[in-house]
Amino acid sequence: MERQALNGWIERWQARLLWAATLLVAMLVLAITLVLAVGATRFLQSRGWRLGVLLGANWNPLAGHFEIGLFIVDTIIVTALAMAMTLPFGLGVAVFGAYVASSWERTALRWLLTVLAAVPSVAMGWWGLAVVVPGLRRIGGGPGFSLLAAGAVLAVMLLPTFGLLALEVLDKVPEDWHQASLALGASEDQNLLQMALRVSLPGLKTAFLTAVARAMGETVAVQMVIGGAVYGFHGMLGPGATLTTQILTDMAILPLGHPAHGVLDLMAVILLAGLTLLTIWAQRGDERP
């Protein structure tokens, strides 16, 4: 009986500790959101809630102009470029790993992709400076530092992660379904395009949006190759600046206490809002929360 009482006591306290940990993390998340929201609100208030702050492209801290529209547009463009480049490669890798590769090739591919997915983004930025930027300068002229360079570097960075996630999704298609589809007379190609990829679509969507979120949130790899131009839009082969790179750059230029420091909070809030939309979209129709 002694022992049972002790066990009950331990049981209760461990449950409380687990709950306390959850509460701590929930509070942390709440605190982060609040700090950013307060900073952003204050900044917007000081600007008189003008919509131009979000839509305009006039960024000139010295003259007191803080409009972040250009950075939002550049973030979207760079992310779209990266995903457009990484999607076919990632899908190819996933199809090969899930359906074509022999057993040892599959194991080797998985291990290799995991190691490559863990390569720090700063190494990708380094490669971008060494290869992509000079390459674009030679081919397309201009400075080389560009939205396209940032997209290419991100595409290479995301490829292993997206490939691995997509591979896992394709792997989950039950073997029976392949057998059934082939037994009904489908060729391997028809089986792949009309059965396997189609039933995997929800999972592939989640994998894709996870990669999109990483692309939007990446900072240094983009900052190293994008050129940091804040005046006007210069096209795909011209330099630009995204929300993340601009937060990094301006943390030094607009230190705390500077009246416009809140614009950094605003940029962070915009980023988080975008990511929240992505998360909601990713989880729609995905029963696994």
Binding site: V25, G92, V115, L116, S187, I247, M251
Partner: protein, 283 residues
């Protein structure tokens, strides 16, 4: 019979090209990093304006900060994971909490850096230091551990848990003696990956740990890591041998991240091999 396997061949071709491009990054880094490599780089202090600087303090900072951050965030994150899988009531707000944590898993590192900078550095007056950087890494890691840990735990077959409870084990005994051991290989795998992710983190650390090193290690000493040094030297380095220093730093960093991932994978595979077709059915 016509097989119609055109897309299989295409996927194989794409895979070769894709792997070649990504491996290009590593091979170029290895080539440039090994050119002019000297082991004394690992033991010397960095030099701002002269050649021959080392990365000893950066190495120590990276390893110590990642370890400290994991020591905090891994247990707390796992506690959240256990609560979410085994203890959470079937209420709507638990689903929301899970969704919010999944969302925060992809919080941009620079935003975490911004928050820690505003609260610790400005609010509490902490210097740009090992301490501020460690907290930033821990904050970055917490939601990831909680979400990935919950995923791994939820993959332990439900009937194992039911069997344990039916035999009279308490819930917490079931967690300690069944759930965690069953999920151990997968958890080790995740730990290796999270180690590598933190070691390679740059954006969250530039304005929290800083871009300098101190004369000795300390919680409030400047805490530049390998990744930040790599970034700083490549973009703003003023030493004559910046090319070599940057590439060598990057090579050491990539070796550490690859080592963490591979080491964890090998360890997990060994546990699984020892078990044979054991508790975990994920093989």
């Amino acid at each position: 019979m016509k097989r119609g396997r055109r897309w299989y061949a295409v996927s194989a071709g794409i895979t070769v090209v894709a792997l070649a491009i990504v491996l290009w990054v590593l091979l170029l880094l290895a080539k440039d990093g090994l050119a002019g490599w000297h082991w004394s780089r690992l033991t010397r202090f960095p030099r701002e304006l002269r050649s021959g600087g080392g990365i000893a303090p950066e190495l120590v900072n990276t390893v110590s900060m990642v370890m400290l951050a994991e020591c905090f965030s891994a247990p707390v994150g796992m506690a959240v994971a256990v609560w979410l899988t085994d203890y959470a009531p079937p209420a709507a707000w638990v689903g929301w909490l899970k969704r919010v944590l999944i969302g925060f898993q992809s919080i941009p590192a620079i935003v975490v850096g911004l928050i820690v900078y505003q609260t610790l550095v400005d609010g509490l007056g902490w210097p740009l230091s090992v301490g501020s950087g460690t907290i930033a890494l821990a904050v970055l890691n917490l939601p990831a551990v909680a979400v990935l840990g919950a995923t791994v735990l939820s993959e332990v077959p439900g009937r194992l848990r039911e069997g344990s409870l039916a035999l009279g084990a308490t819930r917490i005994q079931t967690v300690w003696r069944l759930m965690l051991p069953a999920a151990l290989p997968a958890l080790i795998d995740q730990l290796g990956y999270s180690w590598a992710r933190l070691a390679g983190e740059t954006a969250a650390l530039i304005f929290t740990a800083g871009i300098n090193v101190g004369p000795r290690w300390g919680w409030f000493q400047p805490g530049e890591t390998l990744a930040v040094h790599f970034w700083y030297v490549r973009t703003e380095g003023a030493m004559p041998d910046w090319r070599m220093v940057a590439a060598a730093t990057g090579l050491v960093l990539v070796t550490i991240t690859a080592g963490a991932v591979l080491g964890a994978k090998l360890w997990a595979a060994r546990i699984l091999a020892k078990r044979g077709v054991g508790v975990s059915e994920r093989g």
